[in-house]
């Protein structure tokens, strides 16, 4: 059985999977003048959790479900999830970021859990989507489906919050307090996502955020940027 320590280890922003280089769309939202202070950061985080956070957590949970040993046709199930997540990621820049983060996580995962089911991931040249890799990695670590979804949802919050501290010079104590305030919403999102993983892939959450797509494409054109996304 998994220990709480493994849950903490995988949720830790210091886990070497490249999280430090991604702002989750915050850098572009800051540049657009839409996030300027704690209040707007909180609204950003709440919206991101309910959209990208829910979708990512549901796909991580679904990949975790596909990873359990008795699953037949695991590679087919993961390929289907890959295509379904593509269809939920309209912006090419966001598809590329998800695959890039998946590749970074896979590099860490292969080094740490060499026996995980990574070989069943679709052989996409640019890498598998991050939530799929996370689901397999969490399964290999012995975490539950709910813990997997929690790590995914939590990661969408903390990455952007940490970027907010760096980009806007916000008081780190108040940003942490803001995350404390969002903890129930994060747990609720993770629980919804873990439940949704029982549905067929086409029914998984597809929460959209027009500005996330627009911001991502604008960000991708910048010649100078601090964050990879």
């Amino acid at each position: 059985m998994a220990t709480p320590s493994l849950l903490l280890l995988l949720a830790d922003g210091r886990f070497p999977a490249g999280a430090h280089a991604h702002s989750g769309g915050l850098e572009a939202a800051v540049a657009a003048g839409r996030v300027t202070d704690l209040a707007t950061l909180e609204a950003f985080l709440a919206g991101r959790l309910a959209t990208a956070g829910l979708v990512g957590a549901a796909f991580a949970a679904a990949a975790h479900r596909a990873a359990v040993p008795e699953t037949v046709g695991r590679a087919d199930a993961l390929a289907r999830l890959d295509a379904e997540l593509d269809a939920r990621t309209a912006a090419p820049a966001l598809r590329a970021v998800s695959r890039r983060q998946g590749r970074a996580l896979l590099r860490a995962g292969r080094a740490i859990w060499p026996d995980a089911a990574f070989a069943d991931l679709p052989a996409t040249p640019t890498g598998a989507h991050q939530p799929l890799v996370l689901g397999l990695l969490c399964a290999a670590a012995g975490l539950s489906r709910l813990e997997t979804a929690t790590i995914a949802a939590y990661g969408t919050l903390t990455g952007a919050a940490s970027a907010g501290v760096r980009l806007l010079g916000l008081d780190p104590y108040r940003v942490q307090a803001l995350l404390v305030g969002l903890a129930d919403a994060c747990d609720g999102t993770a629980a919804d996502a873990a439940r949704a993983a029982d549905d067929p892939p086409e029914r998984l959450p597809a929460a959209a955020a027009p500005l996330a797509d627009i911001h991502a494409e604008i960000h991708a054109t910048w010649e100078v940027r601090l964050f990879a996304s």
Partner: protein, 260 residues
């Protein structure tokens, strides 16, 4: 043509390009030789994978200028790639492109999310991806230079990312920098004290810097450099050639096994 396999005694060294403006060896500038008596231009053996050399150091110490100098030095000699970690992402890469010293396809920029030291030390995946992408894009490489974003004296490279690291400080940063130490100064495989041409103008005492560096670094080499006077950073390039030879011995090229 570069030899694909090297028989050290039989194949003559690739003729080193004569640096156009190498100044005469100036013994008034203090320096330590990496390894006296070692031929700096032995025939270079091909290694199974590229030697990865990290180039770190504080902001403005001349890391990018050193990378550009090394690109010039190795232009016709090695299959070279560069990964930059500047916080402004494309700035360093653009400098190298503008300098015309390296094909843009051989340069990759890594975004570091305001954490240049994290990207080279704690969470190195994006840099490793960039190294892999270079090889995928342009074929096998002999040498990859990984330039850090300008950081502070405590920033060093992970051994998971680079095989050797060079730390660059400059005389304009003050002649007490080597005395301050820090992991970059004390532990880098090579310490480069750059912009020696500025020493008289900023009142830096090179002898003090040399003495302090020796005290801090023990047997590890230190080189004084002025790229103004030596646009191909001759002695740094020689040091890398030497390290390449060691690396090739440790990581031999996989040779297809013929019928016995």
């Amino acid at each position: 043509m570069r030899p694909d396999t090297v028989v050290p005694s039989a194949v003559p060294a690739v003729e080193p390009i004569t640096p156009p403006a190498t100044p005469p060896h100036d013994e008034t500038v203090p320096h330590t030789h990496p390894e006296p008596g070692v031929d700096p231009h032995p025939p270079l053996a091909r290694a199974g994978r590229a030697l990865r050399v990290g180039i770190g150091g504080p902001v403005g110490s001349g890391k990018t200028a050193l990378v550009a100098a090394l690109c010039r030095a190795f232009a016709d000699e090695l299959r070279l790639g560069v990964v930059t970690n500047d916080i402004y992402t494309t700035e360093d890469a653009d400098f190298l492109r503008r300098a015309g010293v390296l094909d843009p396809a051989r340069i990759r920029a890594v975004e570091t999310g305001c954490c240049p030291h994290t990207a080279i030390r704690d969470d190195i995946g994006a840099n490793l991806d960039a190294v892999d992408e270079l090889a995928e894009a342009v074929g096998p490489l002999d040498l990859v230079l990984v330039e850090s974003g300008g950081d502070n004296l405590t920033a060093t490279f992970s051994r998971g990312l680079v095989d050797r690291q060079i730390f660059v400080v400059d005389v304009a940063g003050g002649d007490k920098v080597p005395r301050k130490g820090g992991p970059g100064v004390t532990a880098a495989d090579l310490l480069v004290i750059n912009k020696t041409d500025l020493a008289p103008m900023v009142g830096a005492d090179l002898a003090v810097m040399d003495r302090d560096a020796r005290a801090r670094r023990g047997d590890l080499p230190t080189l004084f450099l002025s790229i103004v006077g030596d646009p191909t950073a001759t002695r740094v390039a020689d040091w890398i050639r030497h390290e390449l030879a060691h690396h090739a011995a440790l990581h031999p090229l996989a040779v297809p096994v013929g019928p016995t």
